[in-house]
Amino acid sequence: PQRSAMPKHEFFVDMTCEGCSNAVTRVLQKLGGVQFDIDLPNKKVCIDSEHNVDTLLETLKKTGKNASYIGEKSAQ
């Protein structure tokens, strides 16, 4: 609950299937220090992390998929 005030970073990642989202999950887990939700139908990944946006975006791009930063999303 005390973390819910933290802004989350929202990214667009061009995922099309379970395999894609699993790949995203795995690269993020390898990076470590992240909490994230994957919204496959909307191709969005919402990340709560102490890493900066560039690091997160680089990590997402490792999957070879198109990825871009959407912006901050304040948790409600």
Partner: protein, 76 residues
Amino acid sequence: MEVKSIALGVEGMTCNSCVQTIEQHVGRMNGIHNIKVSLEDKNAVIIYDPKLQTPATLQEAIYDMGFDATLADSNP
């Protein structure tokens, strides 16, 4: 020019988009002559220049993308 061929087992692909992503990503690496990924056989057949790549670096490249790559013992 020296050329080698290797088959790697790849786990975690579920659709053609995963296949294409791997083919494009690995295909862009230095020393890769050809890559054919099969969703059905769950493997990747890569033709590469052993001066620029090794089975370990190829395995790591796929692993970095969020898929499990295993070296099949394929020394005929």
